[in-house]
């Protein structure tokens, strides 16, 4: 697992994602709180298993009522991912629920929470687990939004988030 994590971190960081690892769910919440404080603005947290298991924290500026208007205004969107792929630094999520999509597309910063046990080696291992008939909208996310459409110069943050903050959470229901 450590090897997979090291590989994931290297690949994800190579495409400008930020990768963190928290030992407990409580630690992860502290991390999110710290981040929200640091960047300011409003934040939206999409419903997820992590919240169901641990209860919803009340941080300043944070809301759980996900609408397109709030998502468009929010600085930070928080949602939970289903799998992580070590060989490309990719997150995979069943994004059929529109809340998860709104908080990961419109805000400037996307915080992606994921259970440390959800790490898989590669695309082949996740394609075997995915059933499109069960999930109408699957998203794979590899780093923040990017473009090189002007003079081939890489620029981060076009229509999607300009920061992707990935938080692995160990030993929790997440």
């Amino acid at each position: 697992m450590d090897n997979l994590f090291a590989s994931f971190k290297e690949r994800a960081e190579a495409v400008s994602a930020e990768v963190h690892r928290c030992g407990t769910a409580a630690e992860a919440r502290d991390f999110v709180q710290g981040l929200l404080k640091e960047v300011g603005g409003t934040a939206l947290w999409a419903p997820c298993a992590f919240l169901e298991a641990e209860g919803r924290p009340a941080f300043p500026g944070l809301s759980y009522d996900v609408t397109r208007e709030r998502a468009a205004e929010a600085k930070v969107g928080i949602s939970q991912m289903d799998w992580a792929l070590a060989d490309t630094g990719t997150l995979v999520v069943d994004a059929t629920g529109v809340e998860g999509r709104l908080v990961s597309t419109l805000p400037q910063i996307h915080v992606a929470l994921i259970g440390a046990d959800r790490l898989l080696p590669d695309m082949a291992s996740v394609l075997g687990r995915i059933k499109p008939s069960k999930a109408g909208y699957l998203s794979m996310i590899t780093g923040p939004s990017r473009t090189a459409d002007i003079e081939r110069v890489l620029t981060i943050g076009v229509h999607g988030p300009e920061r992707l903050v990935i938080v692995f959470v160990e030993g929790s229901a997440a």
Partner: protein, 710 residues
């Protein structure tokens, strides 16, 4: 070639931004793409892509129906359209029915292909492209110059100017700021749109899923925020199973942008909730537009294996000089030439197919294993059949097809050219060749052809024999190359025979679409070369070698001359290029070169056919090293020198800058000489260096090796 086409080439060449940006990009691309494939077997990946796509291409109808059933079961509406007018009418009716005033689009080549925006805008509907590159070109009413990077031809200054005049004054040429500006402006378009239109990179029959691959995140917004989603999908995007997406996801990002994976991949299956919780209308239009016709064509079916990565543009020595707009309005570069001929019409490709220099660089990187150069030759052949050949060309090929006449004319030319030749080069050729000598000198026709000097070579009697196939350039301009081949083989105990009946290999005719002439040449040569009882047929010209090994068979196949193919295969089986044969003889211990390190450093130029068709890039390098030379590599050693037979005659304005770059790369190595295995490349590069007054020696590997025999 039409005057307007020639003018468009001149305009593109005169645009320094274009040449600078594309040149730098193509250099960087080669390195970054290789890095993206590190630890991965590209050949295996593209075998898998080819298999998946070839299956799709041969089961279009079946997969389309399976897809429709699955997607509709999941709540989508699937409309199958055979031509562009139907697609446009469907979308317009849908928009009207739903009171749509504003549409956001993510990048879709299928909608570019049918000029959808124009149609909708004419009805008063606002249409916004949201991919940054597409938005830029939409604002200034241009067409994409590249399938993946539509605005790659523009500088940041031009983009700032477009934004300032079309959107909001005062934009500065600062790329991050321009990107931020686009994000801000388009954000409201996303939020305000009633309909989102996307394409799809893959459509999965087994599950009815669409796969969208993007970097900017615009496709996620287009498919999430508006209440209606319309996907316009060419039916060649269909694959059978969900597992089939894997090789495409591996190859497309790596080949297109040297990424392991794009930022976003979305897999959409049926209806999903809108932002207000209501079910989203999903309309999928499976568009045929001549794709079924293409699938029914045994030659062109493979073009449906294209996954639109645009790597054929990125490695093309011509594209990097002129960019995409010279090629046409929608699909550009190598594959674009083929798609334009089909989706538009054959005669639309008349000029642009001539841009292909037949170097084969695209074939080497194509993840769908499409033989793009071969398909372009096939277009050339069909064009020649459809509209006939220019009279002058016809007359030339009639001569080439008559060996005795052709050879006696060449002999006569060696006398006639005397007043023009100086130091082995012709400075000013009469008539139609005059353009050509502007940028390089041409070789003089030798006073005595190789077929005459051959008879005077004293050879040992050997049990094993090889037939030499000279080819026109060695026979009539560079007999010393032929003589070197004989000396080297003699040393290894092989006696060389020269079958008198041999003639032009037919490549010039074939590359100009004159397949009948090429077939005539092929028959003459097969007869002459099979008459001899020899172990090998050897040629020191890679283009001729490819003709003998592959093209004769391919020409016969194209013309349905099944009877001739058996003998062509017999000849192919014993034909080898010079370097490969000699390497084999050295490995067998039959041949040695002088010991000791030579003082001289050579750099090696890979000729297109030798490297990319015959895959013999290592043998000549090994041989030169064994013969005591220090081999130093040049940048872009395997990029075409710009010769390509009559290409340098027809498009000297493109051939010249390609050569210029090659000469720079040669000079940069500091080597005192450059070796290569193709007499055509020798002619081009020697002429170029001579013109520059450079002292760098240009020699065929055979000539160098012959002087180092033990």
């Amino acid at each position: 070639m039409t005057t307007t086409f020639k003018e468009s080439i001149q305009d593109a060449l005169a645009n320094p931004n274009l040449r600078g940006a594309l040149g730098r990009f193509s250099e960087a691309y080669k390195i970054s793409r290789e890095k993206a494939y590190a630890g991965m077997d590209f050949e295996a990946v593209r075998d898998a892509v080819r298999d998946v796509k070839a299956y799709g291409a041969s089961h279009l109808e079946e997969l389309a129906e399976a897809f429709k059933a699955k997607a509709e079961a999941a709540g989508a509406k699937v409309y199958r359209a055979s031509d562009p007018a139907e697609v446009k009418a469907y979308i317009l009716a849908l928009a009207k029915e739903n009171g749509v005033r504003s549409i956001v689009k993510s990048k879709s080549m299928a909608t570019e292909e049918i000029h959808l925006n124009k149609h909708l805008e004419a009805e008063g509907i606002e249409v916004y492209e949201t991919d940054l590159g597409e938005w830029i070109i939409q604002l200034c009413h241009q067409t994409p110059s590249h399938m993946v990077m539509p605005a790659i031809h523009m500088t940041k200054e031009e983009v700032a100017e477009v934004f300032s005049t079309k959107v909001e004054e005062g934009q500065q040429p600062d790329i991050p700021k321009l990107v931020k500006f686009a994000r801000g402006k388009l954000r409201n378009r996303f939020l305000g749109a009633d309909m989102g239109i996307s394409g799809a990179n893959i459509a999965v029959a087994e599950t009815g899923s669409l796969v969208l691959i993007t970097n900017e995140g615009n496709a996620r917004l287009v498919t999430t925020l508006p209440r209606i989603h319309v996907a316009v999908v060419g039916i060649e995007k269909l694959v059978a199973t969900f597992q089939d997406v894997q090789p495409i996801l591996q190859a497309l990002p790596r080949n297109a942008t040297s990424q392991l994976l794009t930022s976003y991949v979305s897999v959409i299956t049926g209806q999903v909730p809108n932002t207000d919780g209501s079910p989203k209308q999903l309309h999928i239009i499976l568009m045929d537009n001549k794709r079924s016709e293409m699938a029914a064509d045994p030659k062109f079916r493979q073009a449906l294996q294209c996954i639109r990565c645009a790597s054929c543009l990125n490695v093309c020595p011509v594209f990097r000089l002129v960019g995409g707009h010279v090629f046409g309005k929608v699909y550009t570069g190598g594959i674009g030439t083929i798609l334009t001929a089909w989706f538009d019409e054959l005669k639309q490709s008349d000029d642009i197919q001539g841009l292909c220099i037949q170097c084969g660089a695209c074939k080497d990187v194509c993840p769908g294993r499409i033989d793009i150069p071969e398909l372009i030759l096939e277009l050339r052949r069909r064009l020649a059949v459809e509209k006939g050949m220019p009279l002058v060309q016809k007359a030339i090929f009639a001569v080439v097809n008559n060996r005795r006449l052709f050879h006696s004319l060449l002999r006569a030319a060696s006398v006639a050219q005397k007043p023009f030749a100086k130091g082995g080069f012709i400075r000013h050729l009469p008539l139609f060749l005059s353009d050509l000598t502007d940028f390089r000198s041409l070789p003089a026709i030798a006073p005595r052809p190789f077929r005459d000097t051959f008879k005077e070579i004293v050879q040992p009697e050997c049990k094993e024999k090889a037939a030499i196939y000279a080819g026109c350039l060695i026979d009539f301009s560079y007999p010393e190359m032929g003589e070197s081949v004989v000396r080297v083989l003699n040393k290894a105990g092989i006696q060389v025979v020269f079958p008198e009946g041999q003639t032009c290999c037919g490549a010039p005719a074939r590359y100009n679409g004159a397949y009948e002439t090429a077939a005539g040449n092929a028959k003459d040569n097969i007869k002459a070369l099979l008459e001899e009882d020899v172990t090998y047929v050897v040629s020191a010209c890679p283009t001729c070698t490819v003709a003998l090994k592959d093209d004769f068979i391919a020409t016969f196949e194209s013309l349905g001359m099944e009877d001739a193919i058996g003998d062509a295969r017999k000849l192919a089986a014993k034909t080898l290029d010079f370097a490969t044969l000699v390497k084999k003889l050295v490995d067998e211990g039959r041949l040695e070169f002088k010991d000791g390190q030579q003082a001289e450093t050579v750099t090696y130029h890979d000729s297109c056919h030798l490297k990319r068709t015959l895959h013999a890039q290592q043998a000549p390098r090994d041989l030169l090293k064994k013969a005591g030379f220090t081999v130093t590599e040049m940048k872009e050693c395997d990029i075409c020198c710009g010769m390509a037979g009559s290409y340098s005659l027809k498009l000297p304005e493109l051939s010249a800058p390609i050569l210029e770059r090659k000469l720079e790369n040669i000079k940069d190595t500091g080597a005192t000489s450059v070796a290569m295995d193709c007499p055509g490349c020798v002619m081009q590069i020697r002429g170029g260096l001579d013109k520059l007054g450079s002292g760098i020696k240009v020699e065929h590997t055979a000539v160098r090796l012959a002087k180092r025999l033990k």
